[in-house]
Symmetry: C2
Subunit: 797 residues, 2 copies
């Protein structure tokens, strides 16, 4: 184990108790053997399955907001235990949606409410948690109960010792009723296996009220239909973070239920159903806003009851078709194996040589990188669009869950590099979203046929430009360019009209005006690069070339708008008002009402990835700029300011640099533009070493749909896309001894960090296919040629 995890002040008690780790690693492995271990692990260990290095519990405690459940890469269904959602507090008083439970699971909790099928990975806002399943025996309990009194509801106590999580599989023992629960998944389906004790009245609960970020009234309508004694279908419509969300299911039981019933929390039984017959037991339709159903069995000791459930955003029919297509059998282990293999296949795209702990962090980061976005279409290609209509994705695979303010930075560039097919599909998904948008906007924060307008910027344009500039050609460039232009001139969206009028977003009009201006300026640069690339491409044809050319100039000009919120007096980016004066008072350390969103001016002042030389000039030249970077990383951030910082732990800070939040992610690389690039190299190792730990609380902030993890992957390999939308990667310092990357074009890139050690973190030279790099950049086409990329490491700058 590496030093850092031992330095962790409060190592989680249960860390070594994961059954998975206890079997895969000698429990007694002491620190002094780490060199030995290092040598062992340096041998060609490629035959080891890489999934064994994934620890799904990383990030499940505190701020990571990851979940430990079962899913496949980019799988729509992400089936995971929810430990709470706390719609009500201990006194039964209504509690607003609770930030802690963005992913449904918190490692410190001691009870599981049940297993639901949809989750976000690492978000800072939330929704989903569809169709909670929970087994129980004995007395019928249709309420979940509380964490303090799980025995009063269907929820159950559990212990981490009995938990097992691996890619595509999750297991736990539900202690209340001694039921073993196992989960696996396919793209659109969940597969449950429950091992019951002997019980006359065993039961599966299906809770249609349960949800993540739940509140009273979130479920607009729910419906369950008993097709026969092994098949039920249903759906619900929710208005949560996603304003209008439809989700359908088809659920098959491996064993016929012998009884069933439901309860409604409001008067939503059949109106006028005045017969003697009860519609609450044995009646094949259930509907309402607050319904919970149960399905009864009698079980022998050790008897396994299996459930498989297909999901669809289109219809119950669609859900059933998904189920039939993806799990046509009852072989749980087969599905589990296929899920594991699908992960193995993805993870093996990058085979690294590093110590065990780094491998775990690396492959867990890779695992998290492949969780969101998700495939969002039925097996027949149909999906529910942003316009709430049913569409068919004809020449692409449709994806959803775009947290673009987070993910345009490194997650999408990672896909552009390693998953050009998926990347093109995602661009096409965004263009379809644009077509379906009443506001004619590319996605901002979009999921499941909803746009949430969360955070700022129009960063889809960055993803699109990045894909095109790096050679992805599976989408229509004219359509893409026009969508970017329309989006960036949209009259509905945050301050764009003012932005175009004043060349900055005035603070009088927008509380985040300064950061919004900076983000727009960067996005405009991405559009310019897209327009330029389209213009340069003779395949575009003369008319489009001419059109794109004129837009290039216009957007290059817009991309300089960052200068309009720079205050020469203080040397900081600072919100400016309509009258041209800057906001007073102004505190560049505060993140509260200073004109910046999720960041302070200290951090955001570096947010000019598109023109670092220009920024350096603004800040008074290279020396001043270097000093500013040094200060950022070394200053002490007062508790007062820390308290304002969202979504991160104290460990997520280095000085005033906030790694747990995205706006700073490129800053460590900015030393590359100074005469001290070794500080970038040092900082990368520091961040990699301290802010990503193999522990439930190992993430210093929200994983944010994989952006935190994507930063890790790039940085650990030795480079990072500071400015997506260009074909340039900026070098840092590799944190693995060796990485063999299977490129999507069939070539292989081998990255070697010669002489890397805990001390040797500085890069003496970089050779690409034996050619010495003269600058600190690598171009995309160079990477794609494969071959060798050798970093010669040194103990001194």
């Amino acid at each position: 184990m590496n030093k850092l995890s031992l330095l962790n002040k409060k190592p989680p008690d249960s860390f070594f108790k994961f059954r998975y780790f206890t079997t895969s690693l000698p429990r007694y492995l002491p620190f002094r053997f780490s060199l030995f271990a290092f040598l062992i692990l340096s041998l060609p260990t490629f035959s080891q399955p890489l999934t064994r290095y994934v620890n799904p519990f990383i990030g499940t405690k505190e701020m990571g907001h990851t979940f430990p459940g079962a899913c496949v890469p980019f799988g729509f269904v992400q089936l995971s235990p929810d430990t709470d959602t706390i719609p009500y507090d201990k006194d039964g008083k209504y509690n607003p949606p609770v930030y802690r439970y963005c992913a449904g699971y918190q490692y410190d909790d001691r009870t599981i409410v049940g297993f639901s099928h949809t989750h976000f990975n690492g978000t800072g806002h939330s929704d989903l948690g569809d169709f909670l399943i929970m087994p129980e025996t004995g007395r019928l309990m249709l309420d979940p109960g509380t964490a303090d009194h799980p025995e009063k509801g269907y929820r159950s106590a559990f212990r981490h010792e009995t938990e097992k999580a691996e890619p595509g599989y999750y297991a736990v023992r539900l202690d209340d009723d001694s039921i073993k629960a196992e989960l696996t998944a396919t793209t659109r389906c969940g597969f449950h296996r429950y091992t019951f004790p002997q019980a006359d009245s065993a039961r599966i609960i299906l809770d249609m009220i349960h949800g993540i970020y739940n509140y009273d009234g979130k479920v607009l309508w729910a419906y369950i239909r008993v097709v026969n004694d092994t098949l039920i279908t249903g759906y619900r419509i929710t208005s949560g973070w996603g304003r209008t969300r439809y989700m359908y299911f088809a659920l098959a039981f491996s064993k016929p239920f012998n009884d069933y019933g439901w309860r409604s929390g409001d008067k939503t039984g059949y109106r006028g159903f005045w017969r003697r017959f009860s519609q609450y037991r044995g009646f094949p339709e259930m509907a309402g806003k607050k319904i919970r159903a149960w399905f009864g069995f009698s079980t022998n000791k050790g008897e396994q009851v299996k459930l498989k459930i297909g999901l669809s955003a289109v219809s119950m029919e669609g859900a059933l078709a998904n189920l039939v297509a993806e799990i046509p059998h009852w072989d749980f282990d087969k599905t589990r194996k296929e899920a594991r293999e699908s992960w193995e296949q993805e993870l093996s795209k990058i085979r690294i040589d590093a110590d065990e702990d780094r491998k775990i962090n690396f492959y867990t980061a890779f695992y998290h990188v492949l969780m969101n976005p998700v495939i969002y279409e039925d097996v027949d290609g149909r999906y529910r669009g942003l316009d709430q209509e049913i569409h068919t994705a004809k020449s692409f695979t449709n994806y959803t869950i775009f947290s673009l303010w987070d993910t345009y930075r490194a997650l999408h560039p990672l896909y552009t590099w390693l998953y050009p097919k998926r990347s093109g599909d995602m661009v096409n998904s965004m263009l379809a979203h644009f077509d379906q948008s009443a506001e004619k906007m590319l996605p901002v924060w979009a999921f499941h046929g909803n746009e949430d307008w969360c955070m700022s910027g129009y960063h889809s344009v960055s993803v699109i430009a990045d894909a095109w500039v790096k050679g992805i050609r599976s989408f229509d460039p004219e359509k893409a360019l026009r969508a970017c232009l329309t989006t960036s001139t949209n009259k509905y969206y945050e301050g764009i009209t003012d932005y175009m009028k004043f060349n900055y977003v005035p603070y009088d009009q927008d509380a985040s005006s300064a950061s919004v201006t900076l983000e727009y300026a960067y996005d405009d640069y991405a559009i310019a690069r897209l327009a330029e690339a389209v213009s340069d491409d003779s395949a575009s044809g003369p008319l489009l070339q001419m059109f794109a050319g004129s837009e290039t100039a216009k957007y290059l000009k817009r991309s300089a708008n960052y200068k309009n919120v720079f205050d020469y007096h203080t040397g900081f980016m600072r919100p400016k008002k309509i009258d041209g004066t800057f906001k007073i008072p102004f505190d560049p350390l505060s993140t509260s009402n200073q004109g910046f969103i999720e960041g302070n001016s200290w951090n955001y002042s570096f947010h000019v990835p598109q023109d670092v030389p220009g920024l350096i000039a603004l800040m008074g030249g290279e020396k001043a700029f270097t000093r500013r970077l040094d200060s950022l990383f070394t200053m002490h951030l007062d508790d007062k300011y820390f308290a304002e910082t969202e979504d991160v732990t104290r460990e997520g800070l280095i000085g005033n640099y906030v790694h747990g939040n995205e706006p700073s992610h490129h800053i460590p690389y900015l030393y590359n533009w100074t005469s001290q690039p070794w500080k970038t190299q040092e900082m990368i190792h520091r961040i990699i070493g301290t802010m990503y730990r193999n522990a439930p609380d190992g993430l210093c902030g929200n994983d944010d749909c994989g952006q935190m993890s994507a930063w890790y992957i790039f940085s650990a390999l030795g480079f990072y896309p500071v400015c997506p939308g260009t074909d340039v990667y900026n070098t840092g310092s590799p944190c693995v001894n060796k990485a063999v990357i299977s490129l999507p074009n069939g070539k292989t890139l081998t990255i070697t960090a010669t002489g890397l050690s805990r001390r040797n973190v500085y890069v003496r030279s970089i050779k690409l296919n034996n050619q010495l790099l003269t600058g600190l950049v690598i171009h995309h086409h160079e990477l794609m040629e494969g071959g060798s990329l050798v970093f010669e490491m040194a103990g001194k700058p």
Copy 2:
């Protein structure tokens, strides 16, 4: 005008004020000229458009529950003014859904809330009222206001003098803002034309909360999307009488709106939409449970703003496709003319010679007969089924709104006779409903993808049997028979399990047990006849023939179950308990908790249409039976009992005979089984003359989706299907001088009542194609041969 309308104690003031009538009839036409008028009108007046004899206001006052708005025959869209729905009373207190407003319109009201697009015709329970449109000028008012203070809301005062209603067209002047409103419709679309005064701020209100039988929370979700400045789309999901109902629209304006906005009655704007930009004005998406939108214009004096709106139960896309297909232009008058012509075409199937008033009653009844069921599918054949999935009606046209307890009696037999194509389509619609039913039931009271389980019996089987027995072959007999068998043995439905066990439904188990038993027994007879016909048909093949044959015997036996609730001691049908004893106490006059639904034992005791001779025997022979009938029609019903009678006015009674409710509809014909059939003949004329009047309150009870009107059509023509499912019609006494009926097979049937006058109501002889009828029955195949049916009328029995 005929005497009866003048005898009407309180003729409605406004009757002669309908603009339509003032132009078509001389206003001063005195009674003394009625003979002259009679002669004039007796001349071949077939060139007069028959739509001129339709008075859509008949039944709009009190109990008729008809609506005066615009629709086409069997049209899904029925666009009509709603005068109130009273979700709140005068003090602002919540008021439960109000029975008076089943059709949205009450003639005595003096204000109009607006114009909505879906209505039931004549029901006793209700729903619908989708998408209320209302024009206004001046100050923005997004609340409807109250009937007492229309000026405080968008609703408006109006006067009947300015109203005009004819088939396919409705017009009224909205006095508050001096706006003329005109409505017309196609099958799936509504067309509005508003003539505005000069107004800087004219406006169209779209109220998504408004509905019929409204209650707080009925709208589960509503959505409006502004596609451009002349097109909006949207939908709502309601849980009203129909538990889960989806309705979509696409609405086009003839003139671009220059501004728009909305208000939400709850917090359902975009969550997290914290931008400076307001989502409540000029923002192209609106969603929530309680939303009302407005669209602004400036208008010149006399300027017409037109709206056309397509409806769909499938999707907004479907609604738009319907709109484009059915109203591809902006010519309101063209659509109005086409609507009128479609009515003319249907009404001209029966050309009668009768006095003006009778013509008006007859054609208005015919008009009402063609309003429900409605076509329920998009132009591409897709519709939302009972299972809430989208289906395509492939080889039939799908219909909905089946109020079968009412309509199996005469409405469906009328379709079987005159509309065999539609009748077959309706059977196929019922079979599709059966396929989609979780309970595997044929429809009971079904509409818009919902089953309401309202009233009792499984009368779909009667409709199916009637269609098959009368030669309709457009559905699969085996499927139909199996659906009937499954339905009639359904374990979920009211007391069927007990019925099969005890041969009656025990009163201990069901408060309507006696009437339910009677209805099941009749339905079982219908099944027997269907099975027999299938068995007799060599096209069925030997296996199905054998199977159907065995079911015939079984169901014939079940059809005698009526005997099991006959109490020899009292001579009445009487609820029986599990132990075989009859309910004590028992009051055969009461309709309250006596084991009968919407009727007392006095009336229900005659409910054995399938075996009148058997009933006569039970009741002690023909003389006793005749006395019983005489008593029914002559006894005085105490106010105490009248108060219990649902849905009817005092005028709807003859003695204790309740014409305003359906269970008695066949009783006047039962004298045919006695030696005094002249009493049937007399009674028909009495009912036709007194219970159907050319006045807003001219219907003595709910029109019940046309059943009351269908009774009129048959009876006025001289016969009635006492026992649907057999090929027999029972003769009564014609109430028109002549009727020329275009049969669906291309033949013509001419019915003549020779010597008919107000006195000559008795039938001396009946000749069918010059052959004297020996009995009081006519067979279906005889009618279908066309030719002449001559009733020789006399002044004495």
